[in-house]
Symmetry: C2
Subunit: 642 residues, 2 copies
């Protein structure tokens, strides 16, 4: 084994002239916007091949359709039928949540699913509407235009919001800004989903208890207040039916969770509830205590709605807000879910490409009377478990929805509201993940706080505020990471050339007269002052303990980047140490850091002879200048320990 | 020299049980809020000594006064007189800039200077008003209440803003939130000051050309438009006098810059201009083209203004905005300047203590008819060059101002506006630092952009927008640092045990079958996806080049922290590599990272035997499992190279 010996064959720091600006800019842009290197596959292709690959890249259906066969279709057909049976009750339920006509929910599983089947790159995502975004749309647009007083205008604004969402999502994808979605942390989403589930469940008390006067606010306090204020409207018949449905749905879910092969039981259950509910409503339609039903579902495909898009300046702030916030949440849900199923199969999902697909899905959808759609978790999981092989299962669902719209829609007019409430509640209860929150609590308290902030913010203030507070906290943490980077004092491990954190390895001890410090994370304006203070504090501490410090060795292995303020900080430290007659040495500066040090003449100030490739060399060099006896004493002490 | 040999005496990763939550929380809070360890000096004191030290800590005058002697006083007296002669013209000028009566400018160098002398911890800071903040106050409050239409209300709001600034600054100091000021980067301040200097200079064209109709906007376009629209009001007499003054002032500054011993020439010059201007105005007072003067300066000390503080809900948003923005800028200027002079003398300034001092200075000031004060650069530099020894020079200035207010104030009524304009312009021209901007351009293009954004934002949009855009860009950069941490592929340097970046050291090459990767910066939610993609890309690249990858070694030396998403990312990578039959190994996890890995059971998943203390050990261990011949081939190849 070759060993490193500085005196025999000194390894030098590479002081080549800095790379050109163009080179670094190109490499940075690539890392920022194309970390997954999507154009790799085009490199060694001829022009025609390139054109073909480009088409396949942007329109994935051309990639999988040529290889499609009957065996795959059998799987996709089954999966498609399963998700269609789920899409009908979910579509109607979530449309009620968004306070738009229930038929829109059915429309929204037809056109967007077609678009996604052509453009989507994930095999498992099943397109549909989602509860959280539906409520958020109702909340945001409802604060400007009441869905009761002016339902037409309200509906048009919902279409407009979907259009804006689509443009926003597609733009993010084209601009390769998938990075934005990365800033919605897992903790935020866990808390947000939990909080949303709580308020949606509470809202369903309206349907479950048959209350007709209700609040438009979404927070827990207002909703509970509205429920109990209208005690006199509670109908026990509705409540009993609703509880029965709910218990049935929860039981089927429990069954599927215990025996994954029975996944279709829970997938079919909502449809069963709807059918049972319809029958019940139909036979009790002439009674005194008739059950409230959805009502009014016409036959026919999606009418064109492009002419209804409303960009009036008065409503634009609301639609923009609704469009962008729901757009981000929908992307986070859709992409995260596509990705997690792809990982199970060891495949990759290109987040930016998915954004473009979701974007076009919503743009086209909003022109055909659809509101916001994405890849909801429940539907996608059912799709995956049903064994779908390609995006063709979405195609099957689209055809299923088309047939439903053409022939069966009026049958669903009898769907009782209480059945929808039960379906929504059972779906929502699955989104409250206490184990997840407990895991966060155990591993990382700050992540737990971020999660709690989203949960309580959504539950007690409002959905958008809760989300923003939580994202703000997460960003604050990211900034704290960079403002207060962990630095540590290094000591030499016995019988090795390794220098490690003295706090982590108690047996590591610093050579006398030398203070070895490892800095982590980029050094720049937000942490320059801190790093200076921290270094000075270590020197004071050592001096306070009676140890004279003659050399400060800064290990920059963990410093990946530096800005002008960071270099000034190092220069200041150098100046302050010079006054104290302490020598400063730099160990292992990374490429970018060394380049900036050279450009800013810091290398000339400190001298090339003070920059070393490894800690051992720097320590050796320190002793060459120090009194020799000191080193001997240390070596003897070391061998004594060994 | 002891060498590290893994087979003889293996150094082990320290798998001690994680530290308690309380311990880590305490240490984090200390690093975040008390990085300079201010209570170190109290540790080994008796109760009485502690009380004394505490008093000295919070009221620094008790620290330096007991050691004060006549020799120090002689220096402070000289410095105090010098800054008094600067304070009078500056006070009047900047009060005009803030559109308040000029006497307020004189008041503002009296009471705050007294307070700072007692509470301030910097020896060099000289208290006074600043141009940028004065203009910003006029801009913000003037947009709500016109200083012309209702000067009394306007003045009261200015006092209120100063009060809010004081409370805000003191609160930041008490809460140890000095960290906030760290987020105003040097690049932002350079650009902001430059932009402010430009618009203030242009505004002075009003006084210099004697224009009486003018705009209240501050951006370049509006100001130039106002100047040229009112061409008919230009007075050549005023312009000639103004230019003469300006040339004189710039010449004295040039002289002082060339010969630092003549610093007093440029310090006295503004006073000379004022006196000359007064004489000129006095003797031409009966002419037709009389020169516009300040007018109306009464004898007498600061009247009490606490009863005028106006917290009316109608004006509160404006005063809050003005108070907080100017508070941050004033702090950044005052603290940065105190710090940079302290560094020259190898002393320390406690930023949080300074904030408290500035805060009280403004609170007390606002109750005694003063507006916003801080430690302006020009005055502080003069104070330092005059040889001040303690904060007593501020005391001398306060006494000088008191005498001026009591006896000399009416004499300054004749100060011509054109003289003030010349003084402001000459001061502002010194704040445009092109060399600084050029340095930023050379060293770091992104810093240069941040600087330009502040400069053009201030010059062409508005002062607060310019500041916010620039701070936003700087934050974006900080977030990009954490979202896209630099990672690199490591190779072994010939004839050593060192593994270094293959891009930086061309001679470093990876052992066959092994992909060694060094990650930098914390791994967490914002960069988890990126890191996963990056690792997979390296594997694909190696495989694309015909090199089979059998082991992936992740060097976590530079990873100072990790959150739950980060650990999930590592677990995902582990899972994906397992599918590809690639082994993953972790090298040198830091204390906090290892703790989280243990808490989240990641260590159990990967196995303790896959976590190594150094790269060499991990490579060795990889070969123990690999085919032996491969390694031999590599070793032979290596020795061939050497």
């Amino acid at each position: 084994m070759p060993t490193h010996n500085s005196s025999m064959n000194p390894s030098q720091v590479n002081f080549n002239s800095p790379r050109k600006f163009g080179t670094t800019l190109k490499s940075k842009c690539k890392e920022t916007f194309f970390p997954d290197d999507p154009f790799r596959q085009f490199k060694n292709e001829k022009p025609l091949g390139k054109a073909k690959k480009t088409l396949q890249y942007f329109v994935p259906i051309f990639e999988w359709l040529p290889q499609y066969n009957l065996k795959m279709f059998r799987f996709d057909l089954l999966a498609g039928i399963t998700i269609t049976t789920l899409a009908i009750p979910q579509g109607i339920s979530y449309a009620k949540l968004a306070e738009i006509p229930p038929i829109i929910g059915l429309y929204s599983s037809f056109v967007p699913a077609l678009v996604y089947a052509i453009l989507g790159s994930s095999k498992h995502v099943a397109v549909g509407t989602v509860a959280a975004c539906s409520l958020l749309i109702a909340d945001t647009i409802g604060s400007k235009v009441s869905s009761k007083d002016d339902p037409t205008l309200y509906l048009h604004l919902v279409f407009t919001a979907a259009f804006i969402t689509g443009v926003f999502q597609a733009a993010l994808g084209f601009l390769r800004l998938g990075i934005l979605v990365d800033f919605l942390s897992h903790s935020t989403i866990t808390g947000f989903m939990g909080g949303t589930a709580i308020i949606i469940c509470l809202q369903q008390l309206k349907g479950l208890l048959g209350v007709s006067h209700f609040t438009t606010k979404t927070d827990v306090v207002s909703v509970l207040h509205a429920v109990f204020k209208n005690r006199n409207e509670w109908k026990w018949e509705t409540a009993v039916v609703g509880m029965a449905f709910l218990v049935f749905l929860l039981f089927t879910r429990y069954l599927s969770q215990r025996k994954p092969k029975l996944f279709w039981v829970s997938a079919m259950a909502p449809m069963v509830v709807v059918v049972l509910g319809c029958l019940l409503a139909y036979f009790t339609r002439d009674r005194k205590y008739s059950i409230q039903t959805v009502g009014n579902l016409h036959k026919g495909l999606n009418p064109i709605s492009i002419k209804y898009l409303n960009f009036d300046a008065e409503y634009l702030p609301s639609t923009l807000k609704a469009g962008i916030i729901t757009g981000v949440i929908a992307l986070a849900e859709g992409i995260a879910i596509g990705r997690s199923f792809a990982i199970m199969n060891n495949e990759q999902v290109d987040g930016n490409k998915e954004m473009v697909a979701f974007g076009f899905m919503n743009i086209v959808g909003s022109c055909f009377s659809c509101y916001l759609t994405t890849g909801p978790f429940s539907k996608t999981a059912v799709n995956y478990n049903s064994g779908c092989k390609t995006a063709a299962s979405n195609l099957v669902m689209a055809i299923g929805m088309m047939l439903t719209l053409l022939f069966l829609a009026p049958l669903f007019s009898y769907t009782p509201l209480v059945a929808l409430s039960a379906i929504i509640m059972s779906a929502m209860l699955g989104l409250i993940k206490y184990e997840e929150a407990y895991h966060l609590f155990k591993v990382d308290k700050f992540d737990f706080c971020i999660c709690l902030a989203a949960f309580f913010g959504v539950a007690f203030i409002s959905m958008d505020m809760g989300l923003m507070i939580s994202v703000g906290l997460a960003l604050l943490r990211a900034l704290l990471y960079v403002a207060r980077p962990a630095a540590c004092k290094l000591g030499k491990l016995p019988d090795s050339t390794l220098y490690r954190d003295t706090e982590q390895y108690a047996e590591a001890s610093g050579p006398p007269g030398i203070l070895a410090i490892q800095l982590g994370s980029p050094i720049y304006y937000a942490n320059g002052n801190y790093i200076r203070e921290r270094i000075l504090r270590w020197i004071r501490n050592d001096e306070g303990n009676g140890k004279a410090v003659k050399h400060v060795l800064l290990d920059l292995t963990g410093v990946t980047s530096i800005d002008t303020t960071g270099i000034e900080t190092l220069a200041e430290v150098l100046r302050m140490l010079e006054v104290k007659h302490i020598k400063m040495k730099i160990v292992n500066p990374r490429l970018e850091v060394l380049e900036k040090m050279m450009k800013s003449k810091f290398v000339d100030k400190i001298g090339k002879e003070s920059i070393f490739l490894c800690m051992e060399d720097a320590v050796e060099a320190s002793y060459d200048f120090s009194v020799t006896t000191e080193k001997q004493g240390f070596e003897e002490q070391r061998s004594g320990v060994a």
